[in-house]
């Protein structure tokens, strides 16, 4: 669905990332991992067409997107920003209905069909009860879910999510990640998200793209690319990656810090 071919991104006169190639297919959850400042946000902005590509190409459904209108692009790709506080207290159902923009004209407003889709999106995330609340008055976790609902109401094929678990408490992190996995696995969307938790990629991701400090990257299954060596090199911390057996007998892989780590961590810094 989404193909990046030797994509370069950055700002005018300053290259941030070069030669990024990968393909995202339907039903896939791709987790993007990398240290702060390596260019994850720049990559996202380039994928979203908010920054011009500095070389290479982005294709959607086989077509280069260079000449696509914002509207056409938004029908294919939805964006979930980090939960934020806008200046005005719109109601949650109005915020979610904004996802219908790409399907409406400039002088139009959402109609009954659009409002129904917005309510359905809220319902699918289990937050239908928030529809009448002020978006500025709900919790950070709820706001993140509302933004996901807005992107679902947009009915895209691909979702791009910028650190959907940032600033959320433990319970909300798990809830958001479970919904995201569900959207990919059952909804058939391709999802790309950034996260700072290797466990999120290991537990929920179907693939991972990891960036190191030298801006080299690797794409593969989370188990292939999230290794003790990568975490040591990139973050300067010693970790152990373990396979565990869950109570239902399924296997999962988790990352835990190695004890006595400070000495090795200090060596790299």
């Amino acid at each position: 669905m989404l193909e990046l071919d030797r994509l370069g991104c950055g700002y005018r006169g300053r290259s941030v990332l070069r030669d990024i190639s990968f393909e995202l297919v339907a039903g896939e959850l791709l987790c993007l991992l990398g240290p702060n400042g390596v260019g994850k946000t720049t990559l996202f902005k380039t994928i979203l067409g908010l920054l011009p590509a500095q070389g290479g190409s982005i294709r959607l459904a086989g077509e280069p997107i260079v000449r696509w209108s914002r509207r056409r692009f938004a029908r294919h790709v939805g964006y979930v920003p980090q939960a934020h506080t806008p200046p005005f207290p719109f109601r949650v159902r109005d915020v979610v209905a904004m996802g219908r923009c790409a399907h409406l004209g400039s002088f139009a407003a959402p109609g009954a069909h659009d409002r129904a889709l917005a309510e359905a999106a809220l319902d699918s995330l289990g937050i239908a009860g928030l529809a009448g609340a002020d978006y500025t008055r709900i919790s950070g976790g709820e706001r993140q879910l509302v933004l996901i609902a807005r992107a679902l109401a947009q009915q895209p094929h691909i979702l791009v999510m910028d650190e959907p678990t940032a600033n959320l408490d433990y319970g909300n992190q798990l809830k958001v990640m479970a919904h995201v996995r569900d959207i990919a696995a059952r909804g058939g969307m391709g999802v790309i998200l950034t996260t700072h938790h290797p466990d999120h990629a290991l537990l929920y991701g179907s693939r991972a793209l990891v960036l190191d400090r030298a801006k080299r990257y690797a794409v593969g299954t989370p188990a292939e690319v999230i290794t003790e060596a990568y975490l040591q090199d990139t973050y300067g911390v010693s970790t152990e990656i373990h396979d565990i057996t869950r109570r239902n007998g399924l296997q999962s892989r988790l990352c835990v810090p190695a004890w006595g780590a400070p000495a090795t961590a200090g060596r790299r810094a």
């Binding site: 908010l50 938004a74 939805g78 207290p89 109601r91 790409a102 009448g132």
Partner: protein, 342 residues
């Protein structure tokens, strides 16, 4: 909470329309030549239907010849400043923004000051104010578009507006500095204070064209303004061509403001306060916020203009009264409720 909130909105709009109608009738009655409200209604009805006048010709002259143009102008200017203020607050995502943010008032001031300096009559002053108001915003747009390549276009636009406004205000001071202190200087100073004392029906009718035209486009863009208030990147990711839409909103709001300022001079705070008040009444959805701002702005400026012309023996310039009344009122709004923007 929602059911009550949404059910209350049509009732509030109806109440506002009634309020405006009441202020409208009362405004004919107020002044140094008092006219009973029933006579006002009869005179107005006499324009529409063939009534046998039971009122004096003087009463008719006061109501139709003197007060009607002024009342229409006050409503037009109040509505115009409030609609453009509400649209700008949404577009610039900031409840502290006023219609003059991109330099339209400073530009209009320079146009009017130059016209007065050059000895133009009232139509010339109005035309120059209107054109210079547009020119100042065009300069802001050009600077903003030139610099916005590498940063937030909305922020750059506001900063460019501050600079252009400062520059045009400096030119206004320069014009005042060279103006004749016995003749043109007082006229310029008086114009800058804002007043509707010399507006006639033709002025109001001419200004009504850009005000109504621009306001209608802004009203039609109400829902789009909601989306734009989430910021440029988010709105683009949602599928809006933000550059073109921002241009349209700025163009319309500028036409509306410049036309109002051209007939009234500088009237501060209305475009800042009224959208706040409207947001407290009906929430931030621009589809309803813009029409409510128009109703409220019309009623507010009409009431203030009534005070300006009846409070003292000599008429106080409207801009002074709006600011003196508006400043504490604004503080009261801030202290009482933050519902409107937080």
């Amino acid at each position: 909470m929602n059911g009550a909130g949404q059910g209350a909105e049509p009732a509030r709009v109806a109440a506002l329309a009634l309020l405006l109608a009441a202020v409208f009738v009362a405004s004919f009655a107020v002044g140094r030549y008092p006219v009973p409200p029933l006579t006002v209604l009869a005179v107005l009805a006499g324009e529409l239907a063939p009534l046998v006048p039971h009122w004096s010709p003087e009463t008719e002259a006061v109501v139709l010849g003197i007060r009607l143009p002024r009342i229409l102008a006050a409503m037009l200017v109040g509505a115009a400043l409030s609609v453009s203020g509400a649209a700008y607050q949404g577009l610039f995502r900031n409840p502290m923004v006023s219609p003059g943010i991109l330099g339209v008032s400073a530009g209009a001031s320079l146009g009017a000051a130059l016209a007065i300096l050059l000895g133009f009559g009232m139509p010339g002053i109005q035309a120059m104010a209107f054109l210079f108001g547009l020119a100042a915003v065009a300069a802001t747009w050009a600077i903003g578009a030139g610099l916005a390549k590498r940063s937030d276009p909305v922020l750059v636009m506001v900063l460019a507006g501050v600079i252009v406004g400062t520059l045009f205000t400096a030119f206004v001071s320069l014009v005042k500095f060279v103006a004749d202190p016995n003749n043109t200087l007082p006229t310029i100073t008086f114009w800058l204070m804002g007043s509707l004392a010399s507006v006639d029906l033709a002025d109001a009718g001419l200004a009504a064209v850009p005000v109504l035209g621009g306001s209608l486009v802004l009203l039609a863009l109400g829902w789009t303004l909601n989306v734009l208030s989430f910021g440029d990147e988010e709105a683009r990711a949602l599928g809006l061509a933000t550059g073109r839409l921002r241009f349209t909103v700025i163009l319309c709001a500028t036409l509306v403001t410049a036309a109002a300022v051209a007939i009234s001079g500088i009237i501060g705070l209305v475009g800042l306060i009224v959208p706040h008040l409207a947001r407290m009444l009906v929430g931030p959805d621009h589809r309803i916020l813009l029409p409510v701002s128009a109703l409220l702005g019309a009623a507010f400026l009409l009431a203030v203009d009534d005070l300006a012309r009846s409070l003292f023996e000599a008429e106080v310039p409207l801009g002074i009264v709006t600011s003196i009344l508006g400043a504490p009122f604004f503080l009261y709004l801030l202290a009482r409720s933050r519902r409107g923007w937080n």
